[in-house]
């Protein structure tokens, strides 16, 4: 209905502008396909199924302590088998969304099953190993069923598992990030692209941070991310896939974050100003780029990093607010000059 209302408003504007004949309005609106509607019988069936599920869960939970270990184990296995079987059934009926959802649930249930089995049989082990093992299982389910949801679950589990080592070791996440990005690209999944981009950013940041001369590596990675952003932008303009704009947005965020990280260590006070100016310029550039490409993620990132850069400059210069004011004044002049130049160029090109 939202689309129909928007179309009605647009049609009125187009008719007023003379682009569309008024007598075609009704015919065009009649061609709008109705959205999917849930009839009352289906809605009641869904409510009944959910309530039945809740009743079973409550019954099992109430008797969980009294159940023999073998019965508890069988229930855990049966729940996982039900989910994965449902996903396979939905795939065989050519219902990809349902199959994806059930495969995602199966991946989550498996992770819970690992924890429950450890509890039921008092199997000692490190929680991070259980999480990474569950992540590998979720990745297998994702690959087998082309399930983007299970892919996101896999990345999340591996990331949490690695994170429990408090950043000492993120090799699993690093190894998983690139295949996840490739899967997102292959399956045209914006959701998986978000997760994979975030994982890539964390992995690259971790790799740069553990290297010698980390500032140089951060700067190199920032330039690399900017290059990837340019490639993703180009791809996003050529195709209608939601995956490339996602990669584009995260690549810009990565470039900004890595640029910030390149100047965190080793410089303070006035010596850090060149880095802060580069940070400020990059953030302003991101805002301009985000507005130009109508990319909310990039615009938001630009604003946040701009505020961050301003705060960092104030901290670097201490109480010397006059110097800070002069710096911001020249930055403002540069921003206004850049904006005017862009507008002039746009008009010259007729865009």
């Amino acid at each position: 209905m939202a689309y129909r209302r928007r179309l009605e408003r647009d049609l009125d504007r187009w008719i007023a502008a003379g682009h569309v004949s008024p007598d075609r309005r009704a015919a065009m609106l009649a061609m709008v396909e109705p959205g999917p509607r849930l009839d009352a019988a289906t809605a009641l069936a869904w409510i009944g199924a959910v309530l039945l599920g809740l009743a079973v869960i409550a019954l099992v939970a109430a008797n969980w302590d009294g159940l023999p270990r073998m019965v508890r184990f069988t229930l855990v296995l049966a729940l996982f088998a039900l989910m994965i079987g449902g996903a396979a059934w939905a795939a065989s009926r050519n219902r990809p969304a349902l199959s994806n959802g059930l495969a995602t649930l199966a991946a989550l249930v498996f992770a819970a099953a690992v924890g429950l089995v450890g509890q039921i049989f008092d199997i000692a082990g490190k929680p991070e190993q259980a999480l990474i093992g569950s992540g590998i299982a979720a990745a297998a389910i994702a690959l087998a069923g082309r399930s983007t949801g299970a892919g996101v679950v896999a990345l999340a589990l591996v990331g949490i598992g690695d994170g429990m080592s408090l950043g000492d070791n993120l090799w699993w996440l690093t190894a998983a990030a690139v295949p996840a990005a490739l899967a997102a690209w292959s399956w045209r999944s914006a959701a998986l692209a978000h997760a994979a981009s975030l994982a890539l950013l964390v992995a690259i940041g971790w790799l740069c941070g553990r290297a010698d001369h980390s500032n140089g590596w951060f700067l190199l990675a920032s330039v690399g991310a900017a290059g990837i952003a340019a490639l993703a932008r180009s791809a996003a303009r050529r195709t209608d896939d939601g995956v490339f704009p996602t990669f584009y947005g995260w690549a810009v965020w990565s470039a900004l974050l890595l640029l910030v990280a390149a100047g965190v260590a080793g410089a303070d006070g006035a010596t850090a100003i060149p880095h802060r100016l580069a940070w400020l310029a990059a953030a302003a550039g991101a805002i301009a780029l985000g507005r130009h490409d109508r990319h909310a993620l990039i615009t938001t990132g630009g604003v946040l990093f701009l505020v961050g850069a301003a705060m960092a400059i104030l901290v670097d210069l201490g109480v010397n607010l006059v110097t800070a004011a002069a710096l911001f004044f020249f930055c403002a002049l540069a921003a206004i000059g850049g904006g005017l130049a862009l507008r002039y160029l746009g008009k010259a090109r007729g865009t």
């Binding site: 302590d65 009294g66 023999p68 270990r69 073998m70 184990f73 855990v76 296995l77 996982f80 088998a81 994965i84 079987g85 996903a87 396979a88 059934w89 795939a91 065989s92 199959s99 495969a103 199966a106 498996f110 099953a113 690992v114 089995v117 509890q119 039921i120 049989f121 008092d122 199997i123 000692a124 299982a137 297998a140 389910i141 690959l143 087998a144 069923g145 082309r146």
Partner: protein, 194 residues
């Protein structure tokens, strides 16, 4: 032969199920095949909400005045604990960085860390105070239902008699890895059963 999505999903699910079953079977076999060790437990927080009912397994005991800490070169690191059977339980003989060094001090060796505060002898009219010996092992929890957990909690906080103490029954495999087999509470064995 080409497998479609349903077949691939079922195959992945079967592998996951097989992995879970294998985990349980391998752990159960290792638990039953290992050497049984009985160690005294100290009261900690016996249960925790949101994690189900479990007993926090803290191994150790008080050292009465006059006794010494077992010899150790571990500091705060993980290493090998040497145990020897005394009556119906095991006592800590030593701790060492290498398994060979530990094995010379006791008949069973297992992975873990040892911390010991020696007893303080009485001086200048002050009463002597006992020391404390604690072990850190890979097993940390024993899951039990609510009734059992409450009984264990009561037994662990009751220091009125020796028989009221709680002991952990562990299984130590050839690699020195301990696994929980059960507890002895008020002289009653609570074993992990299927």
């Amino acid at each position: 032969m080409r497998f479609g999505l349903p077949q691939r999903l079922l195959a992945a699910g079967a592998i996951c199920l097989a992995a879970l079953v294998a985990l349980v079977v391998i752990e159960a076999r290792a638990r039953s095949a290992g050497t049984e060790v009985i160690l005294p437990m100290q009261p900690v927080d016996p249960r925790a909400l949101l994690s189900g009912h479990y007993v926090q397994m803290a191994f150790g005991e008080a050292l009465p005045p006059g006794e010494n800490c077992p010899p150790t070169d571990l500091g705060y690191e993980q290493g090998w604990i040497a145990l020897r059977r005394e009556g119906d339980r095991h006592v800590v003989m030593a701790a060492a960085r290498s398994r060979d060094d530990a094995a010379r001090q006791g008949e069973i060796t297992l992975r873990g860390a040892l911390h010991c505060n020696p007893p303080v002898p009485g001086a200048d009219g002050a009463e002597p105070s006992p020391g404390n010996l604690t072990l850190q092992l890979a097993v940390e929890r024993f899951h039990a239902d609510q009734e059992e957990a409450l009984a264990i909690e009561r037994a662990m906080t009751d220091r009125s008699s020796e028989s009221a103490r709680v002991y952990a029954i562990l299984s130590v495999d050839d690699a020195g890895t301990p696994r929980t087999k059960g507890l002895i509470v008020d002289g009653r064995r609570i074993m992990l059963t299927w």
